[in-house]
C-alpha cells in the first residue's frame, strides 16, 4: 500500500515557485489498477515522480509525506519517501512519459535488459539463464522473440513501448507506475498495451497506477480513479461509479468532451485554460471555467468530502462540507438519443 498524505511538491524556477501539486492525499491499495486523470499540467507527472521517490532539484517536496508499505520476510515495513529508491525495480517500478525515447539507441534490446538489472538478485542467475527467462517472458506478452536482438530504431514506437512495459514488469514489482503509457500510439497498439497491462495485473495481483489525460483509457482498464485539476485532487471514486454519476463539474466535462463513434450530436472540448501554478487562485481553482460556480467558490478552497462510500469530491456546490446532504441530481450530459 502507498499512503500519500498532504503532499505539496513544488518546482523552483527563475520566475518563482511553481506549485505543481498542492495538498494531495489518497491511498493506493494492493491489487488494483488506479487511474490518475486530468489535463496536461495538472500535476499528475509530478505526483508520480514524488511517489516513485524520484525527487530531484528543481523539484522538492514542500509539505506532506509519502510512505510505501512493503512486506519483507513476513513483516510489514514502512518505507519513507527518501528510501524508496532502494526498492526500485523490485518493489516499485516506473514507466516515464515518452519512454519510447528512453532506450539507448546504440545498444541492442537484450543488452539494455541485462544492464538494467545490475542491482537485482536476479542477476545472480547468469547471462544465459537470464536471457532465456527474458525470451520466455516476452513470449508471454506476445512480443516476437526477435525483438531482443534488435536495436531500438528498428522497432516501431508501439513495439518499443511494449518492450519497456516488459522491462518494467520483468521482476514482478508490487507497484508499477505508468505515466501516459499509450500517448502518441495508435488505437490498436494502445488497446494491445492496455490489455497487456490488465492481464499482467490479473496474473501478478499487483497494483498499476496509470496516468492519462484520456478518459476512454481509464474507462477501459482502471478500477478506481483520481481526478486532478491544477495540482489538486478534485474527485476520487471507483471507475464505474465515476462514469455513472460524476460529481465534480470538471469530471463531467472531461467525460463529455470525448466523441464516440456512432454518436452524432455536437460535442465540444473544454474552453479556457487552467490557472497558472505560479500564483494559483485562492478559492476553487476550477471556478472560472465552471458552469456551477458562484462568488463563494472563488473564496473558499473546497476540501474532499465523502459523498458516498469510497467516493470523494472537492466542490462547494456538489459536496458542501457542512451538510451531510444526499447526492444532488447529477447532470448526465447533453441528451443522448
Amino acid at each position: 500500500m502507498i499512503r500519500i498524505k498532504n503532499v505539496s511538491a513544488y518546482y523552483k524556477t527563475v520566475q518563482g515557485t511553481v506549485k505543481a501539486t498542492e495538498d494531495v492525499s489518497f491511498e493506493i491499495f494492493d491489487n488494483e489498477i488506479v487511474g490518475i486523470a486530468g489535463e496536461s499540467g495538472c500535476g499528475k507527472t509530478t505526483l508520480m515522480k514524488a511517489i516513485y521517490g524520484n525527487v530531484e532539484s528543481p523539484m522538492y517536496i514542500a509539505n506532506g509525506s509519502i510512505e510505501l508499505e512493503v512486506e519483507e520476510f513476513g513483516e510489514k515495513k514502512i518505507i519513507p519517501n527518501q528510501e524508496i529508491h532502494r526498492y526500485w525495480w523490485d518493489h516499485i517500478s516506473y514507466i516515464p512519459q515518452a519512454s519510447m525515447s528512453v532506450l539507448n539507441p546504440v545498444v541492442r534490446i537484450k543488452d539494455q535488459f541485462l544492464d538494467s538489472y545490475l542491482r537485482s538478485e536476479v542477476r545472480a542467475l547468469g547471462k544465459q539463464a537470464l536471457l532465456a527467462r527474458m525470451a520466455a517472458y516476452l513470449q508471454e506478452l506476445e512480443l516476437p522473440p526477435e525483438v531482443l536482438n534488435a536495436y531500438p530504431h528498428q522497432l516501431s514506437g508501439g513495439m518499443r513501448q511494449r518492450v519497456i512495459v516488459a522491462l518494467a514488469t520483468f521482476v514482478h514489482p508490487k507497484f508499477v507506475l505508468a505515466d501516459e503509457p499509450t500517448t502518441a500510439l495508435d488505437v490498436v497498439v494502445q488497446r494491445g498495451i492496455l490489455t497487456m497491462l490488465m492481464n499482467l495485473q490479473k496474473q501478478l495481483q499487483n497494483t498499476f497506477v496509470i496516468v492519462s489525460h484520456d478518459m476512454g483509457v481509464h474507462y477501459q482498464i482502471t478500477n478506481r480513479m483520481v481526478i486532478m485539476y491544477a495540482g489538486r485532487v478534485v474527485e476520487i471514486a471507483n471507475t464505474d461509479v465515476l462514469f455513472d454519476r460524476p460529481q465534480h463539474p470538471y469530471t463531467e466535462m472531461l467525460i463529455n468532451a470525448l466523441p464516440r463513434v456512432g454518436d452524432d450530436h455536437q460535442r465540444s472540448g473544454i474552453g479556457g485554460r487552467p490557472p497558472s501554478l505560479l500564483n494559483p487562485p485562492a478559492g476553487c481553482r476550477f471556478a472560472d471555467r465552471c458552469y456551477l460556480a458562484d462568488a463563494g467558490c472563488t473564496q473558499v478552497q473546497p476540501e474532499l468530502v465523502e459523498v458516498e462510500p469510497g467516493h470523494f469530491v472537492a466542490c462547494l456546490k456538489r459536496a458542501p462540507e457542512t451538510a451531510a446532504s444526499a447526492p444532488q441530481s447529477t447532470w448526465r450530459g447533453t441528451a443522448s438519443a
Binding site: 489535463e39 496536461s40 506476445e142 516476437p144 526477435e146 525483438v147 534488435a150 528498428q154 522497432l155 516501431s156 514506437g157 508501439g158 513495439m159 511494449r162 502518441a184 500510439l185 495508435d186 488505437v187 490498436v188 497498439v189 494502445q190 488497446r191 494491445g192 492496455l194 490489455t195 489525460h213 484520456d214 478518459m215 476512454g216 483509457v217 474507462y219 477501459q220 462514469f243 466535462m253 472531461l254 467525460i255 468532451a257 470525448l258 466523441p259 464516440r260 463513434v261 456512432g262 454518436d263 455536437q266 460535442r267 465540444s268 472540448g269 473544454i270 474552453g271 485554460r273
Partner: protein, 334 residues
C-alpha cells in the same frame, strides 16, 4: 468542370532499408488510388496505425516527398514531378499543411506571427502591411483566436490546442482549396481535441475547404468526415462514405480499428493480435493483414487480395467478399 479535385493515381513509394549487403524493399505506399470529386467541399479521412503509410501519402500530396510511381493531381496540376518556382507558388496557394506536433511547427526562436505574416505576403500576395494585417486578423478570428492574443508571442506561451489553431489559421490565410492535416489532434489532450475537430467542420461548411484528415483515431474521424479510407501497411483496405464504412465495416481491419477505440460505455472483450515487426509485415506476399485476421484462409497468405467494389460505393481489398476466390477487381453486393 465536373472532374476530380484531387486524384491520387496508382501512387507508390518504395524505400530501400537495411545495410549495404542485404537491403530490403519496403513499399510504404503500394499502388494507392484515391480521389475527391470537384464541386462540394469534403473531408476525406485517411485512417491507419502507425506504419500504415498514411503520413507518407500525405507528404506526397504536399509535395514534400516524391512518389516512386504514379501521379498526384490537384485541380489538373500534377504535383508528382519537380515544380518550378511559380508552379510551387500556385501549389501552395491551393494546398496547405497542418502538422502533428504544434510545438514543432514553429521555430522556438521566433514569434508565431512571423509565419502568418510571411504566408500573407508571399502566398496570399498582400502588398502592404495593412493588407497583411487584415488577412492575418481574419484568419485568426476564423479559428476562434484574436490578434492580440497571438501577435508577439512565442510558441511556448500557448497550449497545444491553441497553437494548433494558429497552425490552421496560417494555413487558411491564402484561402486554399485543400488542407492536408497530418494527425492534427493526436498531440493535444483528449479533452481539447474537439475544439480543433469542430474547427475543421466549420472550415468545410463555411469556407468550402476540402480537408485530407490523417488520423489513427476513429472517433474524431467519424465525427468530422464525409469519406473515409482505411490504410494498412501501404494499401487502402477500405474506402467509402464514412457512415457506411464505420457503421457496417466490410474489411476485418476496419472492424478491428472500430473495436479498439477506447470507448466509454463498452469494454473490450476480444483478444487482439498486435502487429509484428514492420520489416516482416511489409514483406508478406499475400494480404498484409493475413496474420492478424480472424477470417484468414490459405489464399489470403498466398495472393494479393482484389479490390472489390460494393453496392454502396465502397471499395474493399479483401478475399472474404468474393468468397475467397481468386478474382480480379469485382463488383459485389454487400
Amino acid at each position: 468542370m465536373n472532374g476530380k479535385f484531387l486524384e491520387i493515381r496508382n501512387v507508390s513509394k518504395i524505400y530501400r532499408i537495411g545495410g549495404l549487403f542485404r537491403p530490403t524493399k519496403i513499399a510504404a505506399v503500394d499502388h494507392v488510388n484515391l480521389s475527391l470529386d470537384q464541386g462540394k467541399a469534403q473531408v476525406l479521412s485517411l485512417v491507419g496505425e502507425s506504419g500504415s503509410g498514411k503520413t507518407t501519402l500525405a507528404r506526397m500530396v504536399l509535395h514534400l516527398v516524391q512518389p516512386t510511381e504514379g501521379e498526384i493531381i490537384i485541380e489538373g496540376m500534377s504535383t508528382g514531378r519537380r515544380l518550378n518556382r511559380s508552379q510551387m507558388k500556385t501549389f501552395r496557394r491551393r494546398a496547405q499543411p497542418i502538422f502533428q506536433n504544434p510545438f514543432e511547427s514553429f521555430s522556438s526562436r521566433k514569434t508565431v506571427d512571423t509565419y502568418l505574416f510571411e504566408t500573407a505576403r508571399n502566398i496570399l500576395g498582400a502588398k502592404t502591411k495593412a493588407e497583411a494585417h487584415r488577412a492575418v486578423d481574419e484568419a485568426l478570428v476564423s479559428v476562434g483566436l484574436s490578434a492580440e492574443r497571438v501577435i508577439g508571442r512565442y510558441p511556448n506561451q500557448f497550449s497545444g490546442g491553441e497553437l494548433q489553431r494558429v497552425s490552421v489559421a496560417r494555413a487558411m490565410i491564402p484561402h486554399p482549396e485543400l488542407l492536408v492535416a497530418d494527425e492534427p489532434v493526436s498531440m493535444i489532450d483528449a479533452s481539447m481535441r474537439m475544439n480543433v475537430v469542430n474547427l475543421f467542420k466549420t472550415l468545410r461548411d463555411e469556407f468550402k475547404v476540402n480537408i485530407l484528415y490523417i488520423t489513427h483515431d476513429l472517433s474524431t474521424a467519424y465525427y468530422v468526415s464525409d469519406r473515409i479510407a482505411i490504410m494498412y501497411r501501404g494499401n487502402i483496405v477500405e474506402s467509402g462514405p464514412s457512415t457506411a464504412v464505420l457503421k457496417q465495416p466490410a474489411h476485418p481491419y476496419t472492424e478491428l480499428l472500430l473495436d479498439s477505440v477506447a470507448k466509454i460505455g463498452e469494454k473490450w472483450h476480444d483478444v487482439v493480435r498486435l502487429p509484428d515487426m514492420e520489416s516482416k509485415e511489409y514483406g508478406y506476399v499475400g494480404c498484409k493483414f493475413a496474420e492478424r485476421c480472424p477470417y484468414v484462409r490459405d489464399i489470403c497468405r498466398k495472393m494479393k487480395p482484389p479490390m472489390v467494389t460494393t453496392e454502396d460505393a465502397r471499395e474493399v481489398l479483401c478475399f472474404k467478399l468474393v468468397n475467397y476466390e481468386n478474382v480480379e477487381e469485382q463488383k459485389v453486393a454487400t
